[in-house]
C-alpha cells in the first residue's frame, strides 16, 4: 500500500489561509493523514498566499497571478500533469469552472462537469429542486432602480448585495445599495450582481464528496463560532438527516457530480432551511470533518484511484481553529508589504487568490457562460400593477402637456406640478379610506411633506385632516380653509413659534414626551380644552427614533400609564406612531403596526382606559400606499379593532405617497463631458439644493427632446448627472444611460420629487 501511495501525486489549489480562507490547507491535512506517503503539491497564484508554507505540502507549484498567466499554456501544462497520473483537487470556485470547461471531464480532474456547475450557480441554484430547502428571494441588479428599490421595501432592510462568486454586502438603505453595487461591480468588473433577501437564522452547512454522480458521503456542520466576515471558525459535525440526504443523493446523481462541495444554508426561526450557496469545492473547514471521522478528500481520492487510504479514529465531533505561526519556506520568502496606493491611509490586501482577475479574464471564454449566466428564476417584483400603470400613464400625459416652446424659455430649475397625478393620489386615498362603520378611517395630509397650497386644497376638498407640526403650519392649514376641528397637531416643537395661542380645539393632539403630556394635562384641566383627542406618540423599542415616549423603559411606561389614568373622561385617548415604511420595509412596518397595537393593549390593561384613536403612517412609497396599504385597510381596521375593542377612529397619514410623484424638477443641461470610454457626465442647473432627497430613493429622469418628444433615461448605464454646485456631493444620478444626442440647453426633468425634495429644498449658491 505504501508503494501505491508513493505513486500518488495530488495537486491541491487554493492555499490562502487567512480570515477568509480557501480549503487547500485543510484538504492537504486530511490527505496527509490518509495517504502519509503521497506527494502533495500545493498550487496558488500569489506568493502572499499563506498556505504555501504549510508543512504538509511536499512541493509548491506557484503560478504567476491570473492576469499574467497564459491560460492556454497553463491548461496544456495541467493536462500534461493529469496525463502523467496526478490528481487535481481545486479549492477555488472560478478555477474549478475554468478547469471544467477547459479540460472537460479528465478522469484525474476531480471537479464537477460544466453542466452541473450551471445547475448550482447562485442565486437561483436550480439543482436544489426536490430538496427540502428554500431559496431566498432575489433580483438581478440589471432591472430598473425602481424595481430594485421595490424589492428592498418589500423584503425590508437589510438586504444583501451579492457578487457573482464571492463577496456580499449587507446594506440598510438605498444609498448603501448604490455604494455596494458600485464597489462589487468594480471588483468583479461585471454588472451581474443581485440583491437577495436577508434571512435571520442559524448558519448550517452540508459538505460532501461525490464521484461521477455517486455520493460518497456527506456531513452536516453547525457553526459554533464565526469570523466578522461570517466565515466558519468553529463547528459541530453530525450526520446529514435523512430527509436531506436522500434528495441530495438524487440531485448529485442527476448532476453527475465529481469532487467536493459545500451547501451553505440558514435555518430560520420556524426551522425552515434556506439555501444560500452551493460551492463547487470542499469548504475551508473540511479538515474539521476529518477530525470528526469523515475524511472526504481521502474518500474522493480512494474512489478515483482505487488506492485505499489509512483511516483514523474520530477525534471529536467538534472542531475549532486557532491562530498558528509556522515557519515560512526558505524558497518562498515573504515579500515585503507593498506601499499603499496614493490616497490610501492603510494598506488593504484583497483576494490573494486573484479571483477577481480570473473573473475578468473568463468573461471572454466559454466558461463565461456559467459566470455571466442570468438567474433562471427570479422572484419578480410585482410590476405593471394596475394602479402603478395608471399613475405612470398620468405622469406621461402631464409630461406630454409640457409646452416645448415655453420650455425653451423656462426659467430653470423649475418645479412642475402634475395636477392630474395629485388629484388621482388624493382621490384614490379618499376612496380607500371611506369607511362609515366604526372604527372610521380618516385620511390625513402631512403639511410638512409639501405645504404647496395646491396639495392642501386637494386634501381639504377630499375631506382629509391636516397633520401639522407647528403653529405656523396650523396657520397655513387654516389659511387654506381647514377648520381647527380638522387639524391634528404633533411633533416635538408643536407650540413653536408663539406658544399656546388660544385657539378653538383641535381634532387631535399627540404629545411627544412625558413632560409634554404632563403640561397638556395641566392646561386642559385648568385652562383650555386644546383638543377633542389627546394622545401620545409611542417610540417603538425596536426602531431607532428620537420621537415619542420610549416605552422600552419601564419608568417611561409607568409614568405614561399614570398620566393616562388622570386624563379627564371627556377626552378621547389616542396613540400615534409614524415610521416611514420605505425606511424599514413593508413587512417590518406591518410587524411594527402589530407591535403598536400591543402597546395600546398594554396601556389599556394597565390604565383601565380605552384607546379610542390611533394615528398611523409616516411616509409610504406611492406604490406601496396604492398596492399595500389602501388594499389592506379592511385588514388594518379588523386587526386594530380586535386588539383595541374601544377603537373609534384610525387616522391614516401616508406622508410622501400623496405628493412624491406629483411634482418634477425641470433642469437645463449646462455642459456635456464625454470621455473616450463612452462615459458621459452631464452638468445641469439643478442641484442637491433643489433635490435634497435625491439619494434616499430612485428618481426617474426624463429628457425632453428638442423636437417635442421625450424619453425616460434608462438604468443601469455608465454616465452620471451632476448638479451646478461647486460641491463634491452634488451628484444627481449615477449609472444612468445618457443618450449621445443630448445637447447643452436640453431639459432634464427629475421626477418623483414632489415631497421632501420640494419641501426641504433650500437656496444655495445663488449669491
Amino acid at each position: 500500500m505504501a508503494k501505491e501511495q508513493r505513486r500518488l501525486v495530488i495537486y491541491i489549489s487554493g492555499l490562502y489561509s487567512g480570515p477568509n480562507p480557501s480549503p487547500g490547507v485543510g484538504i492537504a491535512r486530511s490527505l496527509r493523514a490518509a495517504y502519509p506517503n503521497a506527494t502533495l503539491v500545493g498550487v496558488d497564484y500569489s506568493n502572499r498566499s499563506s498556505g504555501l508554507h504549510w508543512v504538509d505540502f511536499d512541493e509548491i507549484w506557484l503560478q504567476r497571478p491570473w492576469d499574467e498567466l497564459d491560460l492556454k499554456e497553463y491548461a496544456t501544462q495541467i493536462k500534461r500533469i493529469l496525463k502523467g497520473g496526478a490528481l487535481w483537487i481545486s479549492g477555488l470556485d472560478l478555477e474549478t469552472i475554468w478547469l471544467a470547461d477547459e479540460l472537460a471531464e479528465h478522469p484525474n480532474l476531480l471537479v464537477p462537469p460544466v453542466s452541473a456547475l450551471n445547475q448550482v450557480k447562485k442565486p437561483a441554484i436550480p439543482a436544489c429542486e426536490g430538496m427540502p430547502v428554500k431559496i431566498p428571494p432575489f433580483i438581478p441588479t440589471s432591472v430598473s432602480e425602481r424595481d430594485l428599490y421595490t424589492f428592498c421595501r418589500k423584503h425590508g432592510w437589510p438586504v444583501w448585495v451579492k457578487g457573482p462568486w464571492y463577496q456580499a454586502r449587507l446594506v440598510r438603505s438605498w444609498r448603501e445599495v448604490k455604494a455596494a453595487c458600485a464597489e462589487l461591480a468594480e471588483t468583479w468588473a461585471t454588472s451581474t450582481l443581485f440583491l437577495q433577501k436577508h434571512i435571520v437564522g442559524r448558519e448550517e452547512s452540508i459538505a460532501f464528496a461525490a464521484y461521477r454522480g455517486e455520493l460518497l458521503d456527506a456531513v452536516y456542520m453547525e457553526k459554533r463560532d464565526i469570523t466578522p466576515e461570517g466565515k466558519t471558525w468553529a463547528g459541530h459535525i453530525s450526520r446529514v438527516p435523512s430527509d436531506l440526504l436522500d434528495p441530495l443523493r438524487s440531485v448529485i446523481q442527476h448532476l453527475e457530480w465529481t469532487g467536493g462541495a459545500e451547501l451553505e444554508m440558514m435555518r430560520d426561526g420556524e426551522g425552515d432551511l434556506w439555501l444560500l450557496e452551493w460551492n463547487p469545492r470542499f469548504p475551508a473547514w473540511i479538515h474539521g470533518s476529518t477530525i470528526a471521522g469523515y475524511n472526504f478528500p481521502a474518500l474522493l481520492v480512494e474512489r478515483a484511484t482505487g488506492i485505499p487510504y489509512v483511516t483514523s479514529e474520530p477525534q471529536s465531533p467538534e472542531f475549532t481553529r486557532v491562530v498558528l505561526e509556522v515557519p515560512a519556506r526558505a524558497e518562498y520568502p515573504l515579500p515585503p508589504l507593498p506601499e499603499p496606493h496614493p490616497g490610501q491611509s492603510i494598506l488593504i490586501l484583497k483576494h490573494p487568490s486573484g479571483m477577481p482577475t480570473l473573473a475578468k479574464r473568463l468573461r471572454n471564454t466559454a466558461a463565461s457562460i456559467i459566470i455571466k449566466r442570468t438567474p433562471d428564476t427570479i422572484e419578480l417584483v410585482k410590476k405593471d400593477d394596475e394602479s402603478d400603470t395608471a399613475l405612470w400613464n398620468l405622469i406621461r400625459v402631464e409630461i406630454d402637456r409640457i409646452d416645448l416652446k415655453l420650455s425653451a424659455k423656462l426659467d430653470t430649475p423649475k418645479w412642475l406640478f402634475f395636477e392630474s397625478v395629485a388629484y388621482f393620489l388624493f382621490e384614490s386615498m379618499a376612496r380607500a379610506s371611506n369607511q362609515t362603520t366604526v372604527p372610521i378611517v380618516k385620511a390625513a395630509y402631512s403639511v410638512k411633506t409639501n405645504p404647496d397650497a395646491r396639495f392642501l386644497d386637494l386634501a381639504r376638498q377630499f375631506g382629509f385632516l391636516a397633520e401639522t407640526i407647528s403653529q405656523k403650519e396650523i396657520d397655513k392649514a387654516v389659511s387654506r380653509g381647514f377648520t381647527m376641528e380638522q387639524i391634528v397637531l404633533n411633533g416635538p416643537g408643536k407650540w413653536w413659534p408663539d406658544g399656546r395661542r388660544r385657539r378653538a380645539p383641535l381634532h387631535a393632539l399627540f404629545c411627544d414626551s412625558i413632560e409634554e403630556f404632563e403640561n397638556v394635562l395641566k392646561v386642559i384641566q385648568t385652562d383650555h380644552p386644546l383638543s377633542q383627542i389627546i394622545g401620545v406618540r409611542i417610540r417603538p423599542p425596536q426602531i431607532v427614533s428620537r420621537f415619542g415616549i420610549p416605552v422600552a423603559s419601564f419608568d417611561a411606561f409607568r409614568k405614561l400609564v399614570q398620566l393616562v389614568k388622570i386624563l379627564p373622561s371627556g377626552y378621547k385617548l389616542g396613540i400615534h406612531f409614524h415610521i416611514p415604511s420605505s425606511e424599514i420595509g413593508l413587512q417590518a412596518w406591518w410587524r411594527l403596526f402589530d407591535s403598536m397595537l400591543n402597546w395600546g393593549k398594554a396601556i389599556e390593561a394597565a390604565s383601565g382606559r380605552k384607546i379610542q384613536v390611533i394615528d398611523i403612517g409616516g411616509g409610504f412609497f406611492p406604490e406601496d400606499l396604492q398596492m399595500e396599504i389602501q388594499t389592506r385597510i379592511s385588514h388594518l381596521r379588523r386587526s386594530a379593532l380586535r386588539a383595541l375593542p374601544g377603537l373609534e377612529e384610525i387616522i391614516l397619514e401616508p406622508g410622501k405617497a400623496l405628493t412624491q410623484p406629483a411634482m418634477g424638477l425641470a433642469t437645463r443641461v449646462l455642459e456635456m463631458r464625454r470621455s473616450v470610454s463612452g462615459t458621459t457626465e452631464v452638468v445641469v442647473d439643478g442641484s442637491i439644493a433643489e433635490l435634497p432627497d435625491i439619494w434616499h430613493y430612485p428618481h426617474r429622469v426624463v429628457w425632453m427632446r428638442p423636437e417635442g418628444s421625450w424619453k425616460l433615461l434608462e438604468q443601469p448605464g455608465t454616465s452620471r448627472i451632476m448638479g451646478r454646485l461647486c460641491m463634491e456631493g452634488d451628484i444627481l444620478a449615477e449609472n444612468i444611460n445618457v443618450p449621445r444626442e443630448i445637447r447643452k440647453g436640453d431639459i432634464l426633468i427629475f421626477l418623483d420629487s414632489g415631497s421632501y425634495d420640494r419641501s426641504m429644498s433650500y437656496a444655495f449658491g445663488r449669491g
Binding site: G269, F554, S595, W599
Partner: protein
C-alpha cells in the same frame, strides 16, 4: 460499580429533586398588571423576523445574570438589574406562552468546575444568598422548552442566550441531566422529544 462522576450526579439529582421550576408571582394588583403588560408588549416589539418561535434574546440584554432574592413578583421585575437563571427562564416561558406557544419549564444539571463553583458560592454569599443550587462541580440550572411539533420541543437557555442541544455530552458547561416539567399542560404529555432524545416528563433523566 459507579464512577465518581456518576456518584456525584446521583447525589446532585437527589439534592435537586425537590426543586420546583421558578415562577414569578403576581400580587393581583395594578402594580403587577402594569409590569406584566409592559413585559408582554416589549417582547412582541422584538419579534424582529416575525416568527413567534424566535428566541426572546432581548431578555438577556435587559437583565444581567446573578443572584437575587426569592420570591419574585412581577412588579419587581422591571426595576431589577440582575436575575438568576430561574427568573430568566420564567420570563422566557412567559414570552413564548403569550405568543400562543406551549411551553414547559426545564430543569437541568450542568457540569462546570469546582473552581467555578467556589466563585459562585462566594458571590452568592456576598449577597447573603444561599448557593444551594451548587453541588460540587454540578449546578442546578433552568431553561424553557417550546413545543414545535407533536411532543417535539426546543430548549431555550436565556442565561446563555442559546438554544440548548442534547448532542454535547460530557465536558465543561454541558448538560448531564434534565427534567421537563409538563404539569399544568392542558393535554397529558408523558414524553417529550428533544431532538433525538425521548424524555419522560416530570422525571430527572441523565442524558450523559
Amino acid at each position: 460499580m459507579l464512577s465518581d462522576a456518576d456518584k456525584e450526579l446521583n447525589s446532585a439529582v437527589e439534592k435537586f429533586s425537590h426543586f420546583i421550576p421558578s415562577i414569578i408571582l403576581h400580587h393581583g394588583k395594578d402594580c403587577c398588571v402594569m409590569a406584566h403588560e409592559w413585559f408582554k408588549a416589549l417582547d412582541i416589539s422584538f419579534l424582529i423576523d416575525g416568527s413567534i418561535y424566535s428566541a426572546p434574546s432581548w431578555i438577556r440584554s435587559q437583565w444581567k445574570w446573578g443572584g437575587m432574592d426569592w420570591p419574585l413578583f412581577w412588579c419587581q421585575v422591571p426595576d431589577l438589574k440582575t436575575l438568576d437563571c430561574g427568573a430568566l427562564a420564567a420570563l422566557s416561558c412567559e414570552a413564548f406562552r403569550q405568543r400562543g406557544l406551549s411551553v414547559f419549564s426545564v430543569q437541568l444539571i450542568q457540569r462546570f468546575s469546582l473552581h467555578d463553583a467556589y466563585h459562585w458560592d462566594r458571590k452568592w454569599a456576598e449577597k447573603g444568598l444561599l448557593s444551594n443550587w451548587i453541588s460540587g462541580s454540578l449546578v442546578y440550572h433552568e431553561a424553557c422548552a417550546v413545543l414545535i411539533g407533536p411532543n417535539q420541543v426546543r430548549v431555550w437557555d436565556p442565561t446563555d442566550n442559546t438554544w440548548l442541544r442534547p448532542s454535547q455530552c460530557g465536558g465543561y458547561a454541558t448538560t448531564v441531566a434534565v427534567r421537563f416539567v409538563a404539569e399544568g399542560y392542558p393535554a397529558k404529555i408523558d414524553v417529550l422529544k428533544w431532538e433525538y432524545l425521548v424524555i419522560p416528563s416530570n422525571t430527572w433523566i441523565k442524558i450523559c
